[in-house]
Symmetry: C2
Subunit: 306 residues, 2 copies
Amino acid sequence: MQHTTVTFLGPAASFSHQAAVEFFGESAELLPCVSFTDAFTAVQQGEADYAIIPCENSTNGSVVQTLDLLADPNNLYEDVEVCGVHYLTVHHCLLARKGVFSSQRDYGSVAKLYTHPQAWGQCEGFLGRYFRGIERQDVSSTSKAGEIVSKTKTEHSAAIASRFAAEFHGLDVLEENIEDKTDNTTRFLVLRNRNSDLTTPRPFGDLDDRREQWASTPTARKTLISFMVRQDSPGALAEALLIFKSHGMNLTSINSRPSQNNNWQYVFLVECQTANGLGDQGMDMEVLSHLQGVTETCRHLGTWSE
Amino acid sequence: MQHTTVTFLGPAASFSHQAAVEFFGESAELLPCVSFTDAFTAVQQGEADYAIIPCENSTNGSVVQTLDLLADPNNLYEDVEVCGVHYLTVHHCLLARKGVFSSQRDYGSVAKLYTHPQAWGQCEGFLGRYFRGIERQDVSSTSKAGEIVSKTKTEHSAAIASRFAAEFHGLDVLEENIEDKTDNTTRFLVLRNRNSDLTTPRPFGDLDDRREQWASTPTARKTLISFMVRQDSPGALAEALLIFKSHGMNLTSINSRPSQNNNWQYVFLVECQTANGLGDQGMDMEVLSHLQGVTETCRHLGTWSE
């Protein structure tokens, strides 16, 4: 049996890695990639069956690297489509090398903390209570912070990273859920190549059990469409958005990114769903065909159940 | 005569500083601030008459720090309004301490380059031709890079920064316009306090000459409005956008930012203008009063000539 290959935004034990394991299960072959561009390229060129990358965080908003690759003004990734999403709640833990700290909250001897710059801000309450004045070292990812601490034997150091990273790097979890905001959530997109025979638009893999569980709860059918309006036609944006409404599609989000070809021309990325959560591909194609009449370019970027 | 005070996003000789000089002229008192939040706070609390901050770049898109402060979900800056915009084309120069390099393109002895990380990527062509393999030092701003080079006497170093920074720090300009993209432009917003008696909604200061010059060219009257739709009302976004259309207002841009109160609820920031570039405050207020019927919150964030 052929393995499903999935590339995720690395390094190993990143939040994208965790999302990949949760979405695809343990049987898929998971391969880290070093950049958002590499993830899109791997899917476009058939080097991976799927990619999973962050697209939005409930606190920080959209991930512009992902939006820019979806906007794709030079048609580099025209076969890449979104086929699923996954939500991951961001929990941080305080991690240390196994056995270094005998009891919980025995933090007096911690000489140095490691994590990604964003995580300091997300754990201010906890850090203010227990680690005032302790040296902080920025690292390129929380997972990397865990790796550094797992290999540092000359000092009493600790990392802020996920429980997933703790297990991956063999670290003790000294404290869980140290984040200020307990519901900080990242939304990931699952990408496939629309011409692939090996993948399906609904990549549930060995998640059939969960799929049955989901089947009992209503899911929304969402569609992502990109378009660019003509710059000499100032009413065109409202006209394009009206087309969604006239087809019974509710807009659930709008993002805009620079077109990179003309200053102050934008690619709009619109997510929509039908009012009753149902709908079919025929309707998507009808919306697209009407959009073509009022836009310079438009593209169907995928449909999935959420 | 009382000076007009203007705070700009520092440090001194930043692109925001240059924008402030170009917009307000030399007679205004210009004060650097260290963050976007400080600029908004200074205007809200009346510590500065105006602030000028970047809001969008033609290549990189929106500046999210500015959008988040405009979205203002906790009503911290409810008296801050946009009263003008300024466009600045981003040109980079190669700068060195006065007299260190006798002739142009005598770059062989440069041992180290300093600039902001973004500027390396914006000058790749030039750097690839003349500075392959030369040590690069990241600095927090291009202006700071200029300052460091002006004070470094022990090595032959050069900075990538603006001509404005060269003049400010007393540096030689070895080469001008070394950027790859000649039309990379940043749009700045001018902010004022809507309750201020000392400022006017049209702060042209000693730019009256230019104002006259502008008067001969048609200008658009733009309005910025923010709103948040109800989360339980999926058609509300399209309904809100329709209100602009039904009042003859064309949407020129839409941005969304997390509301920070509920996950996946957004504050939308919509820029619009009337089809003929004219319009009045009565019309803005009518749009706003209709928006109130379909949104959870909405706010008029300013009107200006562009």
